[in-house]
């Protein structure tokens, strides 16, 4: 790499991201697409905030949705306040644009983490996982008891077309909301990346790796965990604020275990060890969820299988894989590794095809209709042995390719 270009290296990812965000509306069209992109943006922030805990701080949380949901509730109540203040035109909220609501979400999430976090951060590991699980269930169940705050089963709804408008930035169509999402995603991602560069961010890695040693050096691990916990809660709340503006409704479901699980799923599929991993995971899982659910009722099963496969066979996640390729490319020995990796990818593809066919066929047998197969132009007959033979062939071929490419990789390593 040319020495005179070295200033470009740290700036490049941000410049490229900004460019992609600006050009995206030129390429895609239609409110449906923008809706998906907006959800992707929310999930990117949510998954990254989750990774501040798990990937960087070594704290496995099953209650992260609490902060996401409380941030969303804070933002939606603020939105209602803005709407009410709009009638008489004075007071603080009359001058607060909806555009800044994610800040309210951040404050609510961070505050909630500040209030509950201290007793939780004594230990990492299983104890932390269990206590956050308890917190999540507690808050989700408790939210049903206070209908004036949480809106009961139906949730709290609002209208984002209120309050002052800055620079003509309206929030009417999903395409308008896109700019809001793009702005806040960029801000949040940059802030979370900057956090990893602060001394606190570095210390959180140290807590993850060796808490005892840190204690000896004189940094109480509990204080560090607590600070990271607050920051992560804040960014989750920011994501919640974005969600409140996007959906204009917040339900108690957003506080529950399923939402927490989604954060974990996205972060782990994308890869915990790489900063951009959870972003990749968020994009993949969100797109899978929203596209597949149009074609098959087994979409959650597919997401679960992808997650399981990543945990078993690629602990580094997708981000880890990308990083491996990037490093090999930089070292200049990509050519030597590529056939082995492509072979592995082919094996995964074959086995995945086999699995998808099996699941869809089983589905066809038990429910009698199958949209995904018809989409692919297939009308398979589950009674025909030929179909099953084809599936077995797929599995066998996948296994064979996996063995051969595995041996190839071992020989090259």
């Amino acid at each position: 790499m040319n020495e005179s270009l070295s200033w470009w290296r740290p700036v490049a990812p941000w410049a490229i991201s900004a460019l992609v965000l600006v050009t995206l509306p030129l390429v895609v069209a239609g409110n449906g697409t923008f809706s998906i992109i907006n959800v992707v943006a929310i999930n990117i922030v949510f998954a990254l905030s989750y990774n501040m805990l798990l990937g960087q701080g070594g704290m496995l949380s099953f209650g992260h949705a609490v902060f996401f949901g409380l941030g969303a509730y804070g933002a939606i109540h603020a939105m209602n306040l803005i709407g009410e203040a709009g009638y008489d035109g004075h007071g603080f909220w009359a001058f607060f644009p909806v555009y800044l609501l994610p800040l309210v979400g951040f404050a609510c999430g961070a505050l909630a983490a500040l209030v509950v976090g201290w007793p939780f951060c004594r230990r990492a590991g299983t104890a932390f996982a269990m206590i956050t699980l308890g917190l999540g269930e507690l808050v989700a169940a408790g939210s049903q008891m206070f209908p004036t705050v949480f809106g009961g089963e139906a949730g709290v709804f609002s209208n984002r077309m209120v309050g002052p408008v800055w620079f003509g930035l309206e929030l009417a169509q999903p395409a308008d909301v896109y700019w809001f999402m793009a702005f806040w995603t960029l801000v949040a991602v940059f802030a979370m990346w900057a956090f990893t560069r602060t001394p606190l961010g570095r210390m959180s890695n140290a807590v993850r790796d060796n808490a005892d040693r840190l204690q000896f050096i004189g940094y109480p691990p509990r204080n560090l965990r607590f600070l990271v916990f607050i920051a992560a809660g804040g960014f989750a709340g920011l994501g919640g604020g974005m969600a409140a503006v996007n959906y204009e409704i917040v339900t108690p479901e957003s506080l529950g275990l399923l939402t927490s699980g989604l954060a974990l799923l996205m972060a782990a599929v994308g890869g915990l060890a790489v900063f951009y991993g959870p972003m990749v995971g968020a994009i993949l899982v969100t797109v899978m969820n929203s596209l597949l659910s149009d074609y098959t009722d087994a979409s959650i099963l597919y997401v679960g299988l992808v997650f399981l496969a990543v945990v078993m066979f690629a602990p580094g996640g997708l981000g880890g894989g990308i990083e491996q390729v990037r490093l090999a490319w930089r070292r200049g020995d990509l050519g030597a590794h590529l056939p082995g990796w492509l072979g592995g990818a082919l094996a995964v593809l074959l086995i995945a095809l086999g699995l998808v066919s099996t699941i869809e066929l089983v589905y066809q047998i038990s429910h009698g209709r199958d949209k995904l197969a018809r989409l692919l132009g297939l009308e398979p007959d589950p009674a025909s042995p030929l179909v099953w033979l084809g599936i077995i062939t797929l599995f066998a071929a996948g296994y064979g390719v996996a063995r051969v490419s595995g041996r190839y990789r071992e020989a090259r390593a």
């Binding site: 917190l135 275990l257 699980g261 078993m312 602990p315």
Partner: protein, 313 residues
């Protein structure tokens, strides 16, 4: 009032014993392998569904024995080819694996049996009343369920305390490496315990399915409560899990049965508050689902090793 107390005690005991059947396997797995098996309640659900599906062909009683066996075999396969593989990546990876597994099992059940409850019920003969109190019948099936749960507790206790395998398991709980050095096959022991624990969960599903309802949400509704039992009872303590299950079962049942709000309680204690306010109007029945988690959070803050445990998780 007496009627409420007697029946709530009976139902609470029953629920607690079911919880114990579910959590005893998890306690063993947790304390031996350090893995909180997120899919444990999913195996419980599989037990109920397998028993339902088998019962359609071979009848209730054979299914009662066959379904847990099938689930145990499935558990062994999961341990051998899944969990053992991720074991080297640490506890977090194992937790993630079981978390994903729970997703996959729950969705597969959705796929195979649909999202509405299936009509899995106890045989006609067992639905007759065992006795009648205050004009309410108590079915034979409930009595049988209690008996099976208590028999299981005794058998488990005997297995762990009086047999050679139990000795090995107890040794491996605390000194896994040492047991391995003495020439015992610890991974196989792990597999056995995992399979056995899954089988116990399935047994709970088989007999609990007709009492609670057999539907795809049953794992998700009971799963977190089972964790609470294991953590509150203390790592590796069967007796602790037993007490914790009964405690949670009784507290939940009584909270549901008592038609009292927080305001009523405070007024009873001599405070004068509005019994229909936002906070004071909350009934104990609506707090009932939260009680296990309040207990969990309090225990983890004030007594992290649980009621009877010797080690912190």
């Amino acid at each position: 009032m007496l009627e409420v107390i007697v029946f709530s005690t009976l139902n609470g005991l029953l629920y607690g014993l079911l919880l114990f059947m579910l959590s005893s396997g998890l306690t063993l797995i947790f304390s031996m392998m350090g893995v909180l098996n997120f899919a444990h309640a999913s195996f419980y659900m599989l037990g109920a569904y397998f028993a339902y599906a088998l019962g359609l062909h071979i009848g209730f009683w054979p299914a009662l024995f066959l379904a847990p066996l099938l689930v145990a075999v499935l558990g062994a396969v999961v341990e051998r080819f899944g969990l053992r593989r991720v074991h080297e990546n640490g506890h977090v990876a194992e937790l993630l694996f079981t978390f994903g597994l729970a997703y996959v099992i729950d969705e597969t059940v959705h796929l195979l049996w649909g999202s509405i409850p299936v009509s899995y019920s106890a045989p006609e003969a067992l639905r007759a009343p065992l006795f009648s109190l205050f004009g309410t019948d108590y079915s034979i099936y409930r009595g049988v369920t209690m008996m099976i749960a208590i028999l299981m507790f005794v058998a488990l206790w005997f297995l762990l305390k009086k047999t050679r395998v139990g000795l090995m398991i107890r040794a491996a709980l605390t000194h896994g490496a040492m047991v391995g050095h003495l020439g015992h096959n610890v991974p196989r022991l792990f597999m056995g315990v995992f399979a056995f624990g899954c089988g116990l969960a399935a047994l709970a599903g088989v007999i609990g399915g007709p009492l609670l309802s057999t539907e795809p949400g049953m794992a998700q509704s009971l799963g977190p409560v089972v964790f609470v039992v294991v953590v509150v009872g203390g790592m590796g303590s069967l007796l602790g899990a037993f007490y914790a299950s009964l405690l949670i079962g009784l507290v939940q049942t009584f909270f549901v049965a008592l038609d009292v709000s927080i305001g009523d309680l405070l007024n009873g204690l001599g405070f004068a508050v509005d019994p229909y306010g936002e906070v004071t109007g909350i009934t104990l029945a609506s707090i009932a689902p939260m009680t296990p988690f309040i207990l969990l959070v309090l225990i983890l803050i004030f007594r992290p090793r649980g009621l009877m445990g010797e080690l912190e998780p």
